[in-house]
Protein backbone atom coordinates (compact mmCIF):
# COMPACT_ATOMS: atom_id res chain seq x y z
CA UNK A 1 0.00 0.00 0.00
CA UNK A 2 1.21 3.51 -0.76
CA UNK A 3 2.13 5.77 2.11
CA UNK A 4 -1.01 6.96 3.88
CA UNK A 5 -2.07 10.46 2.96
CA UNK A 6 -5.20 12.55 3.35
CA UNK A 7 -8.47 10.68 3.41
CA UNK A 8 -9.35 7.18 4.50
CA UNK A 9 -7.26 4.17 3.58
CA UNK A 10 -8.56 0.90 4.92
CA UNK A 11 -7.61 -2.70 4.34
CA UNK A 12 -10.15 -4.87 6.06
CA UNK A 13 -9.19 -8.50 6.60
CA UNK A 14 -11.44 -10.94 8.39
CA UNK A 15 -10.55 -14.55 7.61
CA UNK A 16 -13.55 -15.89 9.56
CA UNK A 17 -15.90 -14.12 7.15
CA UNK A 18 -13.62 -14.48 4.14
CA UNK A 19 -13.25 -10.72 3.79
CA UNK A 20 -10.20 -9.00 2.30
CA UNK A 21 -11.11 -5.55 1.04
CA UNK A 22 -9.05 -2.46 0.38
CA UNK A 23 -10.95 0.82 0.19
CA UNK A 24 -9.61 4.32 -0.31
CA UNK A 25 -11.74 7.41 0.19
CA UNK A 26 -10.45 10.89 -0.68
CA UNK A 27 -10.67 13.78 1.81
CA UNK A 28 -13.88 15.14 0.28
CA UNK A 29 -15.09 11.99 -1.44
CA UNK A 30 -18.08 9.76 -0.89
CA UNK A 31 -17.63 6.13 -1.86
CA UNK A 32 -20.68 3.90 -2.17
CA UNK A 33 -20.10 0.34 -1.04
CA UNK A 34 -22.54 -1.98 -2.77
CA UNK A 35 -22.85 -5.73 -3.02
CA UNK A 36 -25.13 -8.63 -2.19
CA UNK A 37 -25.94 -9.47 1.42
CA UNK A 38 -23.01 -11.09 3.16
CA UNK A 39 -20.47 -9.55 0.78
CA UNK A 40 -18.67 -7.87 3.68
CA UNK A 41 -20.01 -4.31 3.48
CA UNK A 42 -20.90 -4.05 7.16
CA UNK A 43 -17.64 -5.73 8.12
CA UNK A 44 -15.76 -2.94 6.35
CA UNK A 45 -17.82 -0.20 8.04
CA UNK A 46 -17.60 -1.71 11.52
CA UNK A 47 -13.87 -2.29 11.18
CA UNK A 48 -13.30 1.35 10.24
CA UNK A 49 -15.49 2.41 13.19
CA UNK A 50 -13.52 0.15 15.53
CA UNK A 51 -16.58 -1.88 16.49
CA UNK A 52 -14.95 -4.93 14.94
CA UNK A 53 -11.26 -5.62 15.45
CA UNK A 54 -9.43 -7.60 12.83
CA UNK A 55 -5.82 -8.27 13.71
CA UNK A 56 -4.67 -7.94 10.11
CA UNK A 57 -6.79 -4.93 9.24
CA UNK A 58 -5.21 -1.53 8.80
CA UNK A 59 -7.10 1.74 8.93
CA UNK A 60 -5.39 5.05 8.20
CA UNK A 61 -7.23 8.35 8.40
CA UNK A 62 -5.42 11.49 7.29
CA UNK A 63 -2.16 9.70 8.06
CA UNK A 64 -3.28 8.62 11.56
CA UNK A 65 -3.16 4.89 12.20
CA UNK A 66 -6.53 3.99 13.71
CA UNK A 67 -6.11 0.23 13.89
CA UNK A 68 -4.90 0.22 17.51
CA UNK A 69 -7.38 2.85 18.73
CA UNK A 70 -10.62 1.90 20.49
CA UNK A 71 -13.84 3.01 18.80
CA UNK A 72 -14.35 6.06 21.01
CA UNK A 73 -10.98 7.59 20.07
CA UNK A 74 -11.40 7.26 16.29
CA UNK A 75 -13.66 10.23 15.60
CA UNK A 76 -15.83 8.25 13.19
CA UNK A 77 -19.44 9.29 12.77
CA UNK A 78 -21.76 6.34 12.18
CA UNK A 79 -25.33 6.48 10.94
CA UNK A 80 -26.87 3.05 10.61
CA UNK A 81 -30.15 1.68 9.30
CA UNK A 82 -31.81 2.28 12.67
CA UNK A 83 -31.49 5.70 14.25
CA UNK A 84 -30.85 4.17 17.71
CA UNK A 85 -31.42 7.46 19.50
CA UNK A 86 -30.88 7.12 23.25
CA UNK A 87 -34.48 6.65 24.41
CA UNK A 88 -33.94 8.28 27.83
CA UNK A 89 -32.57 11.55 26.41
CA UNK A 90 -34.34 14.38 24.60
CA UNK A 91 -33.43 15.07 20.97
CA UNK A 92 -31.13 17.93 22.01
CA UNK A 93 -29.41 15.82 24.67
CA UNK A 94 -28.96 13.01 22.14
CA UNK A 95 -27.17 15.35 19.75
CA UNK A 96 -25.24 17.02 22.59
CA UNK A 97 -24.01 13.61 23.76
CA UNK A 98 -20.99 13.61 21.44
CA UNK A 99 -19.82 17.14 22.30
CA UNK A 100 -20.27 16.36 26.02
CA UNK A 101 -18.16 13.22 25.62
CA UNK A 102 -15.51 15.36 23.93
CA UNK A 103 -15.39 17.56 27.03
CA UNK A 104 -17.63 20.47 26.03
CA UNK A 105 -19.66 22.18 28.77
CA UNK A 106 -23.43 21.90 28.88
CA UNK A 107 -24.15 25.25 27.24
CA UNK A 108 -21.52 24.75 24.53
CA UNK A 109 -22.75 21.20 23.82
CA UNK A 110 -26.38 22.33 23.53
CA UNK A 111 -25.31 25.12 21.20
CA UNK A 112 -23.51 22.67 18.96
CA UNK A 113 -26.52 20.35 19.08
CA UNK A 114 -28.80 23.18 17.95
CA UNK A 115 -26.43 24.00 15.08
CA UNK A 116 -26.28 20.37 13.94
CA UNK A 117 -30.06 19.97 14.18
CA UNK A 118 -30.60 23.11 12.10
CA UNK A 119 -28.10 21.85 9.53
CA UNK A 120 -30.20 18.77 8.79
CA UNK A 121 -33.48 20.67 8.89
CA UNK A 122 -34.97 19.54 12.20
CA UNK A 123 -34.24 22.60 14.32
CA UNK A 124 -37.67 22.55 15.96
CA UNK A 125 -37.46 19.06 17.42
CA UNK A 126 -34.95 19.72 20.21
CA UNK A 127 -37.31 19.22 23.14
CA UNK A 128 -39.03 16.11 21.79
CA UNK A 129 -38.49 12.60 23.11
CA UNK A 130 -37.09 10.16 20.51
CA UNK A 131 -40.17 7.92 20.81
CA UNK A 132 -42.36 10.74 19.46
CA UNK A 133 -40.43 11.16 16.20
CA UNK A 134 -41.26 9.67 12.82
CA UNK A 135 -38.70 7.39 11.21
CA UNK A 136 -37.39 10.12 8.92
CA UNK A 137 -37.15 12.67 11.73
CA UNK A 138 -35.33 10.18 13.96
CA UNK A 139 -32.85 9.40 11.21
CA UNK A 140 -32.14 13.09 10.61
CA UNK A 141 -31.55 13.53 14.34
CA UNK A 142 -29.15 10.57 14.18
CA UNK A 143 -27.30 12.34 11.36
CA UNK A 144 -27.17 15.54 13.42
CA UNK A 145 -25.87 13.52 16.37
CA UNK A 146 -23.05 12.10 14.26
CA UNK A 147 -22.27 15.55 12.79
CA UNK A 148 -22.16 17.29 16.16
CA UNK A 149 -18.93 15.43 16.94
CA UNK A 150 -17.36 16.84 13.74
CA UNK A 151 -16.25 13.33 12.71
CA UNK A 152 -13.08 12.82 10.70
CA UNK A 153 -14.86 10.19 8.62
CA UNK A 154 -18.55 9.57 8.10
CA UNK A 155 -19.87 6.00 7.89
CA UNK A 156 -23.38 5.55 6.52
CA UNK A 157 -24.61 1.96 6.81
CA UNK A 158 -27.81 1.74 4.76
CA UNK A 159 -28.99 5.04 6.25
CA UNK A 160 -32.34 5.17 4.42
CA UNK A 161 -33.25 1.53 3.83
CA UNK A 162 -35.62 1.37 6.83
CA UNK A 163 -37.53 4.50 5.75
CA UNK A 164 -40.52 4.99 3.50
CA UNK A 165 -39.98 6.76 0.19
CA UNK A 166 -41.21 10.19 1.33
CA UNK A 167 -38.83 10.24 4.28
CA UNK A 168 -35.91 9.09 2.13
CA UNK A 169 -35.75 12.31 0.13
CA UNK A 170 -35.46 14.49 3.23
CA UNK A 171 -32.90 12.20 4.86
CA UNK A 172 -30.87 12.05 1.66
CA UNK A 173 -30.78 15.84 1.61
CA UNK A 174 -29.46 15.83 5.17
CA UNK A 175 -26.86 13.24 4.18
CA UNK A 176 -25.71 15.38 1.27
CA UNK A 177 -25.07 18.19 3.78
CA UNK A 178 -23.35 15.82 6.17
CA UNK A 179 -20.94 14.29 3.68
CA UNK A 180 -19.40 17.51 2.38
CA UNK A 181 -15.86 18.14 3.51
CA UNK A 182 -15.09 14.71 4.94
CA UNK A 183 -14.39 11.22 3.62
CA UNK A 184 -17.65 9.29 3.57
CA UNK A 185 -18.31 5.59 3.18
CA UNK A 186 -21.88 4.79 2.16
CA UNK A 187 -23.31 1.29 2.24
CA UNK A 188 -26.44 1.19 0.12
CA UNK A 189 -28.81 -0.99 -1.86
CA UNK A 190 -30.34 2.01 -3.60
CA UNK A 191 -28.83 3.19 -6.91
CA UNK A 192 -30.61 6.54 -6.53
CA UNK A 193 -28.82 7.06 -3.25
CA UNK A 194 -25.48 6.25 -4.86
CA UNK A 195 -26.18 8.74 -7.64
CA UNK A 196 -27.30 11.43 -5.20
CA UNK A 197 -24.48 11.10 -2.69
CA UNK A 198 -21.51 9.15 -4.00
CA UNK A 199 -18.63 9.99 -6.31
CA UNK A 200 -17.42 6.44 -6.74
CA UNK A 201 -18.88 2.97 -6.40
CA UNK A 202 -17.02 -0.03 -5.01
CA UNK A 203 -18.72 -3.36 -5.65
CA UNK A 204 -18.06 -6.13 -3.15
CA UNK A 205 -18.78 -9.77 -3.69
CA UNK A 206 -17.84 -12.66 -1.39
CA UNK A 207 -15.54 -10.41 0.59
CA UNK A 208 -13.59 -9.05 -2.39
CA UNK A 209 -13.71 -5.89 -4.47
CA UNK A 210 -14.94 -7.06 -7.87
CA UNK A 211 -15.50 -3.72 -9.55
CA UNK A 212 -15.05 -0.03 -8.87
CA UNK A 213 -15.23 3.26 -10.66
CA UNK A 214 -17.12 6.54 -10.92
CA UNK A 215 -20.84 6.13 -10.16
CA UNK A 216 -21.84 7.15 -13.65
CA UNK A 217 -19.51 4.65 -15.32
CA UNK A 218 -20.43 1.70 -13.09
CA UNK A 219 -24.16 2.32 -13.46
CA UNK A 220 -23.93 2.74 -17.23
CA UNK A 221 -21.38 0.04 -18.02
CA UNK A 222 -21.46 -2.48 -15.19
CA UNK A 223 -18.90 -5.23 -15.51
CA UNK A 224 -20.22 -7.64 -12.90
CA UNK A 225 -23.70 -9.18 -12.62
CA UNK A 226 -24.30 -7.51 -9.26
CA UNK A 227 -23.35 -4.05 -10.49
CA UNK A 228 -25.67 -4.64 -13.45
CA UNK A 229 -28.62 -5.65 -11.29
CA UNK A 230 -27.82 -2.72 -8.97
CA UNK A 231 -28.50 -0.33 -11.83
CA UNK A 232 -31.42 -2.37 -13.16
CA UNK A 233 -29.52 -3.72 -16.16
CA UNK A 234 -28.95 -7.24 -17.35
CA UNK A 235 -25.48 -8.33 -18.41
CA UNK A 236 -24.80 -10.95 -21.08
CA UNK A 237 -21.45 -12.31 -22.21
CA UNK A 238 -20.25 -12.94 -25.72
CA UNK A 239 -17.72 -12.11 -28.40
CA UNK A 240 -17.45 -8.82 -30.25
CA UNK A 241 -18.58 -8.88 -33.89
CA UNK A 242 -18.70 -6.23 -36.61
CA UNK A 243 -22.36 -5.54 -35.82
CA UNK A 244 -22.37 -5.99 -32.07
CA UNK A 245 -22.06 -9.10 -29.95
CA UNK A 246 -22.27 -12.82 -30.62
CA UNK A 247 -23.76 -14.20 -27.44
CA UNK A 248 -22.14 -17.12 -25.66
CA UNK A 249 -25.60 -18.63 -25.44
CA UNK A 250 -26.07 -18.41 -29.23
CA UNK A 251 -27.41 -15.73 -31.54
CA UNK A 252 -26.27 -12.17 -32.17
CA UNK A 253 -27.39 -8.75 -30.95
CA UNK A 254 -26.64 -5.59 -32.91
CA UNK A 255 -25.32 -2.60 -31.00
CA UNK A 256 -24.96 1.03 -31.98
CA UNK A 257 -22.31 1.67 -29.32
CA UNK A 258 -19.49 -0.68 -30.18
CA UNK A 259 -15.82 0.21 -29.88
CA UNK A 260 -14.32 -3.23 -29.34
CA UNK A 261 -12.56 -4.90 -32.27
CA UNK A 262 -14.30 -8.12 -33.40
CA UNK A 263 -13.13 -11.36 -31.79
CA UNK A 264 -12.56 -10.00 -28.27
CA UNK A 265 -14.62 -11.26 -25.32
CA UNK A 266 -17.17 -8.60 -24.39
CA UNK A 267 -20.28 -8.02 -22.28
CA UNK A 268 -23.48 -6.35 -23.36
CA UNK A 269 -25.58 -4.33 -20.90
CA UNK A 270 -29.24 -3.93 -21.71
CA UNK A 271 -32.36 -3.02 -19.84
CA UNK A 272 -34.89 -5.86 -19.48
CA UNK A 273 -37.77 -3.59 -20.58
CA UNK A 274 -35.94 -2.95 -23.87
CA UNK A 275 -36.03 -6.63 -24.77
CA UNK A 276 -38.91 -7.64 -27.08
CA UNK A 277 -40.20 -11.16 -26.74
CA UNK A 278 -42.03 -13.06 -29.51
CA UNK A 279 -42.90 -16.64 -30.32
CA UNK A 280 -41.31 -16.47 -33.78
CA UNK A 281 -39.34 -14.08 -35.97
CA UNK A 282 -35.69 -13.09 -35.77
CA UNK A 283 -33.45 -12.71 -32.76
CA UNK A 284 -31.75 -15.27 -30.56
CA UNK A 285 -33.95 -18.19 -29.56
CA UNK A 286 -34.09 -18.94 -25.83
CA UNK A 287 -35.96 -21.32 -23.55
CA UNK A 288 -37.83 -19.60 -20.71
CA UNK A 289 -36.46 -20.84 -17.36
CA UNK A 290 -38.58 -18.78 -14.97
CA UNK A 291 -41.27 -16.10 -14.78
CA UNK A 292 -41.29 -13.64 -11.87
CA UNK A 293 -43.77 -10.86 -11.06
CA UNK A 294 -41.96 -7.53 -10.90
CA UNK A 295 -43.55 -4.13 -10.28
CA UNK A 296 -46.58 -4.84 -12.46
CA UNK A 297 -44.50 -6.52 -15.14
CA UNK A 298 -43.42 -10.09 -15.71
CA UNK A 299 -39.70 -10.81 -15.70
CA UNK A 300 -38.87 -13.51 -18.22
CA UNK A 301 -35.66 -15.33 -17.38
CA UNK A 302 -33.67 -17.51 -19.73
CA UNK A 303 -30.17 -18.95 -19.35
CA UNK A 304 -28.62 -15.54 -20.12
CA UNK A 305 -31.09 -13.00 -21.51
CA UNK A 306 -33.70 -11.34 -19.31
CA UNK A 307 -36.83 -9.48 -20.46
CA UNK A 308 -39.59 -7.55 -18.71
CA UNK A 309 -42.96 -7.79 -20.49
CA UNK A 310 -46.45 -6.75 -19.53
CA UNK A 311 -48.82 -9.29 -18.05
CA UNK A 312 -51.00 -9.00 -21.17
CA UNK A 313 -48.04 -9.79 -23.43
CA UNK A 314 -47.02 -12.72 -21.25
CA UNK A 315 -50.56 -14.12 -21.44
CA UNK A 316 -50.89 -13.52 -25.22
CA UNK A 317 -47.59 -15.31 -25.86
CA UNK A 318 -48.55 -18.14 -23.50
CA UNK A 319 -45.25 -17.77 -21.67
CA UNK A 320 -44.32 -20.53 -19.25
CA UNK A 321 -41.07 -22.21 -18.22
CA UNK A 322 -39.93 -24.47 -21.04
CA UNK A 323 -41.45 -22.37 -23.83
CA UNK A 324 -39.05 -21.29 -26.56
CA UNK A 325 -39.11 -17.60 -27.47
CA UNK A 326 -37.26 -15.18 -29.75
CA UNK A 327 -35.71 -12.14 -28.08
CA UNK A 328 -34.84 -8.96 -29.93
CA UNK A 329 -33.35 -5.69 -28.73
CA UNK A 330 -33.04 -2.36 -30.55
CA UNK A 331 -29.34 -1.63 -31.28
CA UNK A 332 -29.62 1.67 -29.38
CA UNK A 333 -30.40 -0.25 -26.20
CA UNK A 334 -27.39 -2.56 -26.32
CA UNK A 335 -24.12 -1.31 -24.87
CA UNK A 336 -21.16 -3.53 -25.73
CA UNK A 337 -17.85 -3.17 -23.90
CA UNK A 338 -14.97 -5.18 -22.52
CA UNK A 339 -15.52 -6.91 -19.18
CA UNK A 340 -13.40 -6.33 -16.08
CA UNK A 341 -9.93 -7.88 -15.96
Amino acid sequence: MTSPAAGLHARVVDPSRGVDVTVTVGPDECVALVGPNGAGKSTVVETVAGLLRGTDSTVHLDGRDLARLPAHRRRTGLVAQRADLFPHLSVTDNVAFGPRAAGAGGREARHRAATALALVGVAGLGDRAPATLSGGQAQRVAIARALATDPAVLLLDEPTSALDLDARAAVREALATARTGRPTLLVTHDPLEAVALADRVVVLQDGRVVEQGPVEAVLRHPRTPFAASFSGLALVRGTATAAGIALDGGGELASSTRTVPPGRPVVAALHPTAVRVGRDGTGPGRTVTALEPRDGLVRVRTADLVADVTVVTAAALGLAPGVTVRMTVAPDEVAVYEPAG
Partner: protein, 283 residues
Amino acid sequence: MTAQDGGPTTGRDQRQRRRRTTRPRLPVPWWLPVPAALGGLFVVVPVLAMVGRVDWGSFVALVTSPASTTALGLSLGTAAATTGIAFVLGYPLAVLFSRSTARWVGVLRALVLLPLVLPPVVGGLALLAAFGRLGLLGAFLDEHGLRIAFTTTAVVMAQVFVSMPFLVSSVEGALRVGGDRYERVAATLGAGPTRTFLTVTTPRVLPGIVSGLVLCGARALGEFGATLTFAGSLQGVTRTLPLEVYLQREVDPDTAVALALVLVVVAVVVIGVTSLRTRAVVA
Protein backbone atom coordinates in the same frame (compact mmCIF):
# COMPACT_ATOMS: atom_id res chain seq x y z
CA MET B 1 -47.07 -1.97 10.75
CA THR B 2 -44.54 -0.54 13.11
CA ALA B 3 -44.42 2.91 14.61
CA GLN B 4 -41.44 3.67 12.42
CA ASP B 5 -43.13 3.87 9.06
CA GLY B 6 -46.13 5.87 10.19
CA GLY B 7 -46.26 9.55 10.96
CA PRO B 8 -45.25 10.93 14.33
CA THR B 9 -46.67 8.78 17.08
CA THR B 10 -46.61 9.53 20.76
CA GLY B 11 -46.05 7.00 23.50
CA ARG B 12 -49.61 7.57 24.67
CA ASP B 13 -51.00 6.79 21.20
CA GLN B 14 -49.19 3.48 21.15
CA ARG B 15 -50.40 2.52 24.59
CA GLN B 16 -53.98 3.32 23.69
CA ARG B 17 -53.76 1.42 20.47
CA ARG B 18 -52.41 -1.56 22.33
CA ARG B 19 -55.28 -1.41 24.77
CA ARG B 20 -57.91 -1.22 22.07
CA THR B 21 -56.74 -4.10 19.87
CA THR B 22 -57.54 -7.07 22.08
CA ARG B 23 -57.57 -10.60 20.74
CA PRO B 24 -60.26 -12.98 21.88
CA ARG B 25 -58.87 -14.95 24.80
CA LEU B 26 -57.34 -18.28 23.94
CA PRO B 27 -59.70 -21.03 25.15
CA VAL B 28 -58.40 -23.11 28.09
CA PRO B 29 -59.34 -26.72 28.86
CA TRP B 30 -62.56 -26.81 30.96
CA TRP B 31 -60.89 -28.61 33.86
CA LEU B 32 -57.92 -26.23 34.12
CA PRO B 33 -59.50 -23.81 36.65
CA VAL B 34 -59.84 -26.62 39.23
CA PRO B 35 -56.12 -27.18 40.00
CA ALA B 36 -55.51 -23.48 39.42
CA ALA B 37 -58.05 -22.53 42.09
CA LEU B 38 -56.61 -25.13 44.48
CA GLY B 39 -53.15 -23.71 43.93
CA GLY B 40 -54.30 -20.17 44.60
CA LEU B 41 -56.21 -21.17 47.74
CA PHE B 42 -53.22 -23.11 49.02
CA VAL B 43 -51.25 -19.87 49.20
CA VAL B 44 -53.99 -17.47 50.21
CA VAL B 45 -55.77 -19.51 52.92
CA PRO B 46 -52.81 -19.84 55.34
CA VAL B 47 -52.05 -16.12 55.11
CA LEU B 48 -55.71 -15.23 55.72
CA ALA B 49 -55.86 -17.75 58.57
CA MET B 50 -52.89 -16.08 60.18
CA VAL B 51 -54.47 -12.66 59.79
CA GLY B 52 -57.56 -14.13 61.47
CA ARG B 53 -55.43 -15.20 64.44
CA VAL B 54 -54.15 -11.67 65.06
CA ASP B 55 -55.29 -10.31 68.39
CA TRP B 56 -56.19 -6.82 67.18
CA GLY B 57 -56.79 -5.51 70.71
CA SER B 58 -53.15 -5.92 71.67
CA PHE B 59 -51.69 -5.70 68.15
CA VAL B 60 -50.16 -2.25 68.52
CA ALA B 61 -48.74 -3.04 71.96
CA LEU B 62 -47.22 -6.31 70.73
CA VAL B 63 -45.70 -4.79 67.62
CA THR B 64 -44.27 -1.80 69.47
CA SER B 65 -42.77 -3.74 72.37
CA PRO B 66 -39.02 -3.07 72.83
CA ALA B 67 -38.03 -6.52 71.57
CA SER B 68 -40.22 -6.10 68.50
CA THR B 69 -39.08 -2.60 67.58
CA THR B 70 -35.45 -3.56 68.14
CA ALA B 71 -35.85 -6.55 65.83
CA LEU B 72 -37.75 -4.51 63.24
CA GLY B 73 -35.15 -1.74 63.33
CA LEU B 74 -32.33 -4.25 63.00
CA SER B 75 -34.12 -5.95 60.10
CA LEU B 76 -34.73 -2.73 58.19
CA GLY B 77 -31.21 -1.46 58.86
CA THR B 78 -29.43 -4.64 57.84
CA ALA B 79 -31.68 -5.15 54.80
CA ALA B 80 -30.95 -1.60 53.64
CA ALA B 81 -27.21 -2.10 54.12
CA THR B 82 -27.43 -5.43 52.30
CA THR B 83 -29.27 -3.89 49.37
CA GLY B 84 -26.64 -1.17 49.07
CA ILE B 85 -23.72 -3.60 49.24
CA ALA B 86 -25.41 -6.03 46.86
CA PHE B 87 -25.83 -3.18 44.35
CA VAL B 88 -22.22 -2.01 44.61
CA LEU B 89 -20.87 -5.56 44.21
CA GLY B 90 -23.64 -7.20 42.19
CA TYR B 91 -24.19 -4.62 39.44
CA PRO B 92 -20.59 -4.88 38.16
CA LEU B 93 -20.90 -8.66 38.30
CA ALA B 94 -24.07 -8.51 36.22
CA VAL B 95 -22.39 -6.24 33.65
CA LEU B 96 -19.38 -8.55 33.30
CA PHE B 97 -21.63 -11.61 33.03
CA SER B 98 -23.76 -10.01 30.35
CA ARG B 99 -20.79 -8.84 28.26
CA SER B 100 -18.68 -11.94 28.30
CA THR B 101 -19.12 -15.02 26.17
CA ALA B 102 -16.23 -17.03 27.61
CA ARG B 103 -17.17 -20.45 28.95
CA TRP B 104 -15.44 -20.00 32.32
CA VAL B 105 -17.68 -16.98 32.89
CA GLY B 106 -20.65 -19.32 32.53
CA VAL B 107 -19.17 -21.50 35.26
CA LEU B 108 -18.53 -18.44 37.42
CA ARG B 109 -22.11 -17.25 36.92
CA ALA B 110 -23.46 -20.63 38.01
CA LEU B 111 -21.32 -20.44 41.16
CA VAL B 112 -22.36 -16.87 41.98
CA LEU B 113 -26.03 -17.71 41.48
CA LEU B 114 -25.69 -20.87 43.59
CA PRO B 115 -27.28 -19.29 46.70
CA LEU B 116 -30.54 -19.02 44.72
CA VAL B 117 -30.97 -22.78 44.98
CA LEU B 118 -28.84 -23.53 48.03
CA PRO B 119 -30.60 -24.04 51.39
CA PRO B 120 -29.77 -20.88 53.40
CA VAL B 121 -28.49 -23.01 56.30
CA VAL B 122 -25.82 -24.37 53.99
CA GLY B 123 -24.94 -20.80 53.05
CA GLY B 124 -24.56 -19.98 56.73
CA LEU B 125 -22.26 -22.96 57.22
CA ALA B 126 -20.17 -21.89 54.23
CA LEU B 127 -19.83 -18.39 55.65
CA LEU B 128 -18.79 -19.86 59.01
CA ALA B 129 -16.18 -21.98 57.25
CA ALA B 130 -14.74 -18.85 55.65
CA PHE B 131 -15.27 -16.12 58.24
CA GLY B 132 -15.87 -18.06 61.50
CA ARG B 133 -13.31 -17.77 64.27
CA LEU B 134 -11.58 -20.91 63.01
CA GLY B 135 -12.43 -20.26 59.39
CA LEU B 136 -10.21 -19.78 56.36
CA LEU B 137 -10.16 -15.97 56.55
CA GLY B 138 -11.76 -15.70 59.97
CA ALA B 139 -8.70 -17.06 61.77
CA PHE B 140 -6.52 -14.46 60.10
CA LEU B 141 -8.98 -11.65 60.87
CA ASP B 142 -9.32 -12.92 64.45
CA GLU B 143 -5.57 -12.58 64.97
CA HIS B 144 -5.92 -8.93 64.02
CA GLY B 145 -8.77 -8.40 66.45
CA LEU B 146 -11.57 -8.57 63.90
CA ARG B 147 -14.33 -10.95 64.84
CA ILE B 148 -17.15 -11.21 62.34
CA ALA B 149 -19.25 -14.24 63.26
CA PHE B 150 -22.20 -13.48 65.57
CA THR B 151 -22.09 -9.70 64.96
CA THR B 152 -24.42 -7.40 63.04
CA THR B 153 -21.81 -7.45 60.26
CA ALA B 154 -22.38 -11.20 60.04
CA VAL B 155 -26.13 -10.59 59.62
CA VAL B 156 -25.45 -8.31 56.67
CA MET B 157 -22.95 -10.77 55.18
CA ALA B 158 -25.43 -13.62 55.47
CA GLN B 159 -28.11 -11.51 53.79
CA VAL B 160 -25.77 -10.38 50.99
CA PHE B 161 -24.73 -13.99 50.38
CA VAL B 162 -28.32 -15.11 50.00
CA SER B 163 -29.93 -12.12 48.29
CA MET B 164 -27.30 -10.69 45.92
CA PRO B 165 -27.96 -13.36 43.24
CA PHE B 166 -31.50 -11.98 42.88
CA LEU B 167 -30.10 -8.59 41.97
CA VAL B 168 -27.42 -10.03 39.69
CA SER B 169 -29.80 -12.18 37.67
CA SER B 170 -32.45 -9.46 37.43
CA VAL B 171 -29.98 -6.82 36.22
CA GLU B 172 -28.19 -9.23 33.92
CA GLY B 173 -31.52 -10.08 32.29
CA ALA B 174 -32.23 -6.39 31.72
CA LEU B 175 -28.74 -5.87 30.28
CA ARG B 176 -29.11 -8.75 27.84
CA VAL B 177 -32.55 -7.75 26.58
CA GLY B 178 -31.42 -4.49 24.99
CA GLY B 179 -28.26 -5.84 23.38
CA ASP B 180 -25.36 -3.44 22.98
CA ARG B 181 -26.47 -1.23 20.11
CA TYR B 182 -26.75 1.95 22.21
CA GLU B 183 -23.33 1.30 23.71
CA ARG B 184 -21.87 0.93 20.23
CA VAL B 185 -23.44 4.19 19.13
CA ALA B 186 -22.05 5.89 22.23
CA ALA B 187 -18.57 4.63 21.34
CA THR B 188 -18.74 6.08 17.82
CA LEU B 189 -19.79 9.39 19.41
CA GLY B 190 -16.56 9.42 21.39
CA ALA B 191 -17.81 8.25 24.77
CA GLY B 192 -15.32 6.10 26.69
CA PRO B 193 -16.37 2.97 28.61
CA THR B 194 -16.98 4.82 31.90
CA ARG B 195 -19.13 7.56 30.37
CA THR B 196 -21.06 4.99 28.35
CA PHE B 197 -21.61 2.85 31.45
CA LEU B 198 -22.90 5.77 33.51
CA THR B 199 -24.91 7.73 30.92
CA VAL B 200 -26.12 5.04 28.53
CA THR B 201 -26.09 1.58 30.08
CA THR B 202 -27.29 2.49 33.58
CA PRO B 203 -30.31 4.58 32.50
CA ARG B 204 -31.23 1.88 30.01
CA VAL B 205 -31.35 -0.90 32.61
CA LEU B 206 -32.70 1.26 35.45
CA PRO B 207 -36.04 -0.62 35.59
CA GLY B 208 -34.15 -3.89 35.91
CA ILE B 209 -31.95 -2.39 38.63
CA VAL B 210 -34.97 -1.17 40.59
CA SER B 211 -36.77 -4.51 40.45
CA GLY B 212 -33.49 -6.26 41.30
CA LEU B 213 -33.02 -4.00 44.32
CA VAL B 214 -36.58 -4.63 45.50
CA LEU B 215 -36.25 -8.41 45.14
CA CYS B 216 -32.88 -8.32 46.85
CA GLY B 217 -34.17 -6.16 49.72
CA ALA B 218 -37.21 -8.39 50.20
CA ARG B 219 -35.08 -11.52 50.30
CA ALA B 220 -32.72 -9.86 52.78
CA LEU B 221 -35.64 -8.86 54.99
CA GLY B 222 -36.88 -12.44 55.14
CA GLU B 223 -33.47 -14.05 55.60
CA PHE B 224 -33.49 -16.64 58.39
CA GLY B 225 -31.41 -19.79 57.89
CA ALA B 226 -28.04 -18.30 56.95
CA THR B 227 -28.43 -15.57 59.56
CA LEU B 228 -29.21 -18.01 62.37
CA THR B 229 -26.29 -20.26 61.39
CA PHE B 230 -23.65 -17.58 60.83
CA ALA B 231 -24.81 -14.75 63.08
CA GLY B 232 -26.86 -16.45 65.79
CA SER B 233 -29.79 -14.84 67.56
CA LEU B 234 -28.57 -12.15 69.96
CA GLN B 235 -31.23 -9.59 70.78
CA GLY B 236 -30.38 -6.17 69.39
CA VAL B 237 -27.28 -7.50 67.62
CA THR B 238 -28.28 -10.29 65.27
CA ARG B 239 -31.90 -11.09 66.06
CA THR B 240 -33.79 -9.80 63.02
CA LEU B 241 -37.56 -9.87 62.66
CA PRO B 242 -37.86 -13.39 61.18
CA LEU B 243 -35.68 -14.72 64.03
CA GLU B 244 -37.81 -12.84 66.57
CA VAL B 245 -40.97 -14.33 65.04
CA TYR B 246 -39.49 -17.82 65.28
CA LEU B 247 -38.44 -17.26 68.90
CA GLN B 248 -41.77 -15.75 69.99
CA ARG B 249 -43.66 -18.58 68.31
CA GLU B 250 -42.88 -20.80 71.30
CA VAL B 251 -42.97 -18.17 74.02
CA ASP B 252 -45.76 -15.85 72.90
CA PRO B 253 -47.72 -16.96 69.80
CA ASP B 254 -49.72 -13.71 69.74
CA THR B 255 -46.58 -11.62 69.33
CA ALA B 256 -45.27 -14.03 66.71
CA VAL B 257 -48.46 -13.69 64.67
CA ALA B 258 -48.52 -9.91 65.02
CA LEU B 259 -44.89 -9.60 63.87
CA ALA B 260 -45.54 -12.06 61.06
CA LEU B 261 -48.31 -9.78 59.87
CA VAL B 262 -45.82 -6.91 59.73
CA LEU B 263 -43.63 -9.03 57.45
CA VAL B 264 -46.65 -9.90 55.29
CA VAL B 265 -47.48 -6.20 54.89
CA VAL B 266 -43.89 -5.45 53.91
CA ALA B 267 -43.98 -8.30 51.37
CA VAL B 268 -47.26 -7.10 49.87
CA VAL B 269 -45.82 -3.59 49.47
CA VAL B 270 -42.73 -5.04 47.79
CA ILE B 271 -44.78 -7.12 45.37
CA GLY B 272 -46.99 -4.13 44.60
CA VAL B 273 -43.98 -1.94 43.83
CA THR B 274 -42.31 -4.56 41.61
CA SER B 275 -45.43 -5.34 39.61
CA LEU B 276 -45.97 -1.63 39.03
CA ARG B 277 -42.39 -1.38 37.85
CA THR B 278 -42.74 -4.42 35.62
CA ARG B 279 -45.87 -3.02 34.05
CA ALA B 280 -44.07 0.27 33.41
CA VAL B 281 -41.29 -1.63 31.67
CA VAL B 282 -43.59 -3.80 29.57
CA ALA B 283 -45.79 -0.88 28.46
